[in-house]
Symmetry: D2
Subunit: 389 residues, 4 copies
């Protein structure tokens, strides 16, 4: 009898507990709706992993229209010091009062790969896609009223032709919708050109692998968040000097990353994004895209300007894991649940990432990073700074 044949999470747990001589009572303690989860989020359910959620903030952000708003950040993490670290960054930002987050939708991408015989078929395929772009757009739109094909790039290489389709998927992260729409367009392309598609997803998307294509061609949302930290904030909240803060940034985020052959010119984007993504029901594998990007610091007299550039943030406020109970609460806590909120959510992620950068760079500058670890190693909850980046 296969796991799949057990009718419920409870029966699967019983089977496993018996078979493996383990207890799964904590995994079994949850408030999930099994039916909903089974239908949308997870097959062969046995329960839930409980990931601790700490709260950072308040974080005061401006948008480009000058609206100010304060956010609390739910961070799901098991790594001590992260919440404290982000909290300190939020304090530095909020006291400074001038942080701004600006976002731009690029859209989710899906990239099928076709197989041609020669250059003439390449030209045929390129020609078809360009000429019938509006037709393809209609095919795509027919699969969902929440999806619009916005643009595409075509890159042939030998017997392969890769197409990168970009979509506006409204409030959803949209990867699944994009796949369905692409499948529809692919069928049309195959029918009209008789050129076969090898795979509807040919890594020219490129999904969940670190890739310069996403950094350069962008993906999901571009987010830019910046703040000008006052001299006082640098001294009292961050306990360092503008010069030390700058030196750490240059040595670490720029020179260190460059020597490492990195796509991430930052301090800890991934830590903050992973914690926010797990808390709010995003696809955790998109931490990969989120880890790419740059932090830039500038000393302006006695003040310190800090900016983060996120070229490929994949987020949604509907669909995926966002509708699960704890995840929905986390989004509501931030005021970004449901429709019409995804741009704002992206902007808050940018602000949170900015807070994480400020705090970690400051910790390194004051030399307190390892000290925080020692405190944690003794189990003391008062540590102020981040243990790992």
């Amino acid at each position: 009898m296969s796991l799949r044949d057990y009718p419920s999470a409870a029966s699967r747990r019983s089977f496993l507990e018996k078979e493996l001589s383990v207890t799964l009572s904590h995994i079994g303690s949850h408030t999930l709706s099994e039916a909903a989860v089974r239908a949308k989020n997870c097959e062969n359910l046995i329960g839930a992993a409980q990931v601790p959620v700490g709260i950072a903030g308040p974080l005061l952000l401006n948008d480009k229209s000058g609206r100010r708003k304060t956010y609390y950040l739910p961070l799901a993490t098991t790594e001590g010091a992260l919440v404290a670290s982000v909290s300190r960054g939020c304090k530095a930002i909020t006291v400074s009062g001038n942080a701004i987050s600006v976002v731009q939708r690029v859209g989710v991408t899906r990239g099928p790969v076709f197989k041609v015989k020669d250059s003439f078929e390449v030209m045929k395929l390129q020609g078809f896609v360009k000429r019938y772009f509006e037709t393809l757009k209609k095919e795509a739109a027919s699969t969902s009223e929440h999806l619009t094909l916005t643009q595409c790039n075509i890159v042939p290489a030998g017997p392969y032709v890769f197409i990168r389709f970009y979509f506006d998927t409204q409030d959803a992260m949209g990867m699944n919708m994009a796949t369905i729409a692409t499948d529809k367009m692919v069928a049309r392309i195959e029918r009209e050109t008789h050129i076969p598609c090898i795979a509807v997803a040919g890594n020219f998307d490129i999904d969940k692998k670190p890739a310069w294509l996403n950094a350069i061609g962008m993906r999901g949302w571009i987010v830019r968040s910046e703040v000008l930290l006052s001299a006082d904030v640098v001294k009292r909240v961050l306990k360092t000097t503008p010069e030390k803060f700058y030196d750490v940034w240059l040595a670490k985020c720029m020179v260190g990353s460059a020597l490492s052959g990195s796509m991430g010119f930052n301090a800890q984007f991934a830590n903050v994004i992973a914690a926010l993504f797990i808390a709010t029901g995003q696809d955790a594998a998109h931490v990969v895209e989120g880890s790419v990007g740059m932090t830039i610091v500038e000393v302006r007299k006695k003040e310190v300007y800090v900016a983060v550039h996120l070229p490929s943030l994949m987020v949604g406020t509907v669909g995926g894991g966002t509708e699960l109970a704890t995840q929905q609460e986390a989004l509501q806590l931030m005021g970004v649940a449901g429709t019409g909120k995804v741009a704002e959510f992206a902007s808050v992620v940018g602000g949170a990432v900015l807070a994480g950068e400020i705090s970690l760079l400051a910790s390194l500058a004051e030399g307190s990073l390892a000290h925080a670890h020692e405190i944690l190693a003794r189990g003391n909850p008062k540590s102020e700074i981040r243990s790992s980046k």
Copy 2:
């Protein structure tokens, strides 16, 4: 009154619920020990995110000594079809019966950056670290009986000297221990050479950013898992042909990734690693390192050989989030909780990743990927394949 001043998760929730007019009752429903979490995992706790856990398997793996063992895989995910996808891959592997996972510890790395005045100081610093390596080893060992400094690389660039220390941290992932040990060594180096350290973590580690240094210099564990799929398995379990399976792999994992400027020459490493990491209390931001690596396929007559190469898998079976209740249960379910198990755990992650690759490549080959999405879009739990890669 700051969030930090509230004495408990409940009081923080009350504050937030009132302040923000939200309810956090699901986040508040958990079985965490607040004291333990506060001491080790998360500041400003307000509760837990519940991430659905599905079970895949059984997965039959051999180790290099010829021992066979069967595993069930707890996958914490909100992305429908992932568990089903990995399950199918497990079936293909288990029926074939010959999969093997081989692991090698490289060790966690920490990379401080020093600031020199000129080339003479570079030589002085290089000389000191080389001559006094055993001394540094003792300094490192003095910070923890579970940690050993194993090697280091020194790379100067202009006024900077980057050192990459590698550690054996036994069963722990070890990032925090490595930081404490590095801090101690740095103090000694500064004392003896009078060359200042700018940052104990200078991105030459490089932690949680995609980087070729980790792919080439390796980090954490190197894992290699491989299987020879019989013709029958390819046909009946994977519902495709060796040729189609191979074509998808070559077009997607190799050509598509190469054209995208990717560090990940694979189909969906990140999906499987994210789900296993969240379930078992790993640091979720290390999905970034996990997403790097290569899948290789070869047709051998009518059989299909598939191998995965993971150069930088960061895992532990003690410390971090592994001791939380649901995470501990997940590790126990796999038989890899506690000391002496980390190599085995790494090998199972490799096997799970192999299963994910096989299943997704097969889905793309048979053209069923988008179909799975459509089913999911209607909320049908029977879908067999993965929605997103």
Copy 3:
């Protein structure tokens, strides 16, 4: 008295010969027009380096309109076996008779970087460039009648805004024209927006450094050359089998390059491009851009399909070094000197690169590479294959 003060190459040589006790008689033996060289190509002239030119070919290529043409390839190189290697590739291509080269102009790029104070200035600058693109186009056109601004990308990051301008520069490689045009546009942008430009060339061009931006965003010319090698050619000319040839390609160009963190998924693009560039007066530093790209092989029954994809080939048939006497002869020998020939020249470079790939992969497959070296080490000119890739 400084070198610059000597009035002629001869007087500079005399000075150096005396000062350094050397003889420069070979460097002094040349047929250059000093006045022309001084005005356009080289300051402080002392003479010429003589680089041996060997001839490969004939190479039979088709263009996309079905026109067939045969070329001889002048290769300036000091590395024994390269000419022989390319010659063999040419033979394989010419005997097969079906090779085709297709080119597409992307255009030379120049990328200034501006410095802004905040996100509002970013939006101001983006807005200006988008709204006044036609104005900028006119500014650019006013600097040369051979130059047209075709498109631009704008990427802000923190206090910086990078713009990548693309130009059509007709038959010239065009880097210098592009710089002058960019300088003019920059002046206009600064005047209108009061946002200062830090550098007219801010490495977002990106010129003469290996970069994914050029592979993904393309630069100069995209060239695609392909051939279907008959079974007989593979056997008699290349002395290998389709399977061995394929195996070498997959292991070397794909897996080996991927593991090396390379941007070049090929065997020896750089060798062929360097030799052609030096012979024809191209900018030799553009070998960097030329080394990026991919070779793809496919076994089709008993035939072997080979294609090369060059995303960023920088070439010109007027200007730069193309008008020097030997370089002009080399271009004439290929039938691509002067105006209206640059696309054809790009296509021939692609064909030559294809020949180099075929020959080296075959040498590796038959195991004769090292043997060629041994012969060369003994000074035997009959070696058939390439010594270094």
Copy 4:
């Protein structure tokens, strides 16, 4: 009758002149020894390309033992303004008087790829190479008394095992010697392990393709050159300010390169290296390796510190093209011809590259780059700055 059948360069030229209705009289005007060239450097010789050589310098460098020496730099280039640009950098360096170049041999690499059946064969091959490293060293040494195997890395991936052998090849660049030695070792490995080698050069070398493996694992020579420019030099020679110079560097070499996905965090390494390589008979395709590396600038009160880091410089002073007449003269002019000079030559290349960086960054800072182009466009030889980077 094939080109190969013509007995001399003259007869080949006659054939081509007649066949193609061209004249090749300039290509035919040379002082090469045909027999020597044919034996070592170039098959199917038809003559020589004359590349203008300008002289830059004097350049005053210190080595790590405090020895001071002045060099003139022969630059073979067709790109106007390069020689003038490097000359200005040399002046800034020489007047400052404190530049130092430090080099370290890493050695040429050759990387064969083997094909295994499974993980057991991987272990067998790894074990053999490690246990019999001294044996392999002897095999390598038996092929040349000028070559020593120094180390190797082994990286398995699926059915492939890549080995990267490093060699000390004394004064030669050594690529060919390395291939012959590798071929001998490969034969031994195949004989003993019965594991076949697919290709003696499997792109894990990695030769003449831009690759992080060479930047991280290094190749050839590591060169570090640095200088502290006095305030007066910055003002009078470079005509800019420390702040402007620094701003250009940060925006261009660091941020611009990072956003471009580049391996070159520099201004114009490739220009200087290409010109020196062609003049001195290096392998011009190794400009690819030379283009990788970093420039770092620091303002120290009113002085400016500039350093260049070249991780993979491939040079030799014997063999290859170094023994051709004009190339030999160029090496002699620098005082680095023949044996015992290669380290010094590498150090001078570093100094020249440093000069190029200083001058171009200064030109960009003062805004004169485009102006130089305009002057060049009118054919005026007095331009001081570099036209293209």
